[in-house]
Chain length 247, copies 2
DNA sequence: CGGATGCCTTGACCCAGATCAACTGACCCG
DNA sequence: CGGGTCAGTTGATCTGGGTCAAGGCATCCG
């Protein structure tokens, strides 16, 4: 695994305890070498639970490949997704003994885990780890707030358009964009989309059908989406048109 | 302002850049004395804007007294509250130049502000600040995820009951609890509650009236609430009965 | 092959909460 | 004092999305 290949560094940067979105400048620093002792990899098949809410959780982790979801469930079975973890995203909380959410692999998944105790000690002695974690957590908090606007105020149609936009944006294949349209696979079932959006799976299905009928999107099979005109889709999200000038 | 008074320390712990929820053990440390140079206080009247989304924001801050809200607004005017800031809560993001949300004082408000540049430098040289900020941000993220469940899956009645519970819980006067019931003032108008809950103000009003009619709550005036039996209210929230065993 | 299972779609109907509108009461101010 | 404004309440009506139910279409497997 070469550090010169940004795509690989993006996913898993050698010894670094925390995924980096760009090539990592710190891979060579001494203090991180001890990490070999505390980290290990775990794999899960699509559909498998990673951990249940309330379970003892003796590690923190980051996603290497695949997609995991965080969900909350009420006693009567109503479910709400509260996190969507893509490669480089972090799970778990230093200083908490039990999991607060159900974590599930929605695709085949590889996670890089760190035993919690030593990770916490390392965090105490290595300031930039806490700083990096802070940065990532703030990003997640911003995403959560965007999500709250979606859940609280958007229509079903806007919710679907927003989700498609989010997936398109976070999807690498967007980079071959706008020449003949953006195309990507939906990594979620209709039901998972419904749990993400606070809808029922029937409504998700109907809204996707409507967008398809209107030509905003093209479906190739149930899961592969082509967006011939991304701006057209963006208009449906209800968001400010300027795209999103974070940072 | 004595460090021996936990109530005061709770709000504003001398030189510490970050509010502490308990008496602060670090107030005496030398490195923080420089903060005098970079911090200052600002006051706002109830209803005043603190900053608008998109504005240049050259400080980070924490709430000393009063309540502020974070809201997002869509072009057509739909509004969703995405943060409720009580004393000791932190606003602003190191490493971001513009505000991402509208911040508004809903009561008279005093904030302790830190000029962003020096604060960031301080954070770089003082590891425990980043660690403390991380801890607070993770708490906020958890709260945001609870909020997402509320927005996505709860009924209007459950939303109201949940909000009342949250206010009761975060309200100091809860400590004189259960003898004759919990009592507190609503710090939000019906419309602000609606923006918090993803409802309309009419629905908020109706649900409050219903809970009142059923004796779950008692209203003294429009704003003062008495909860004769907190468990009764908790049953209406839809949450797991065990209260909430975070951490 | 035929039955079972999982994922998705579509239709018919219903209801929680939105919308529109009228009204109350507290407070302020000229 | 009367009129204006602001916050809240309540009623009448409408509708987006939920619910219930029936099928479609792959894939798997005995």
């Amino acid at each position: 695994m070469s550090h010169n290949d940004p795509k690989i560094a993006d996913l898993n940067c050698g010894d670094c305890p925390i995924r980096h979105r760009a090539v990592c400048a710190r891979c060579e620093t001494d203090e991180l070498h001890q990490l070999e002792a505390i980290k290990y990899y775990r794999s899960f098949q699509a559909g498998q639970p990673v951990i249940w809410s309330g379970d003892r959780m003796e590690f923190v982790a980051s996603v290497v490949t695949g997609i995991a979801t965080l969900t909350q469930t009420m006693e009567d079975g109503r479910r709400q997704m509260v996190g969507l973890l893509l490669p480089s995203d972090f799970v778990g909380r230093p200083g908490r003994a039990t999991a607060a959410y159900d974590v599930t692999a929605t695709t085949d998944l590889v996670m890089c885990c760190f035993r919690k105790k030593p990770f916490e000690e390392l965090m105490g002695s290595t300031p930039h780890i806490a700083q990096r974690l802070l940065e990532m957590t703030l990003d997640e908090l911003d995403a959560a707030r965007e999500w709250m606007l979606l859940l609280g105020r958007k229509t079903a149609r806007e919710k679907i358009a927003s989700l498609l936009t989010i997936i398109a944006r976070r999807n690498a294949s967007l980079k071959q964009a706008t020449k003949g349209g953006v195309r990507f696979d939906l990594p979620l079932t209709r039901e998972e989309m419904a749990d993400y959006l606070g809808l029922t799976l029937e409504t998700v299905s109907r809204q996707i059908s409507t967008l398809k009928r209107e030509g905003v999107i093209v479906l190739e099979g149930k899961r592969h989406v082509v967006v011939p005109n991304l701006d057209r889709l963006l208009e449906e999200t209800g968001d400010d048109s300027d795209g999103g000038m974070l940072n």
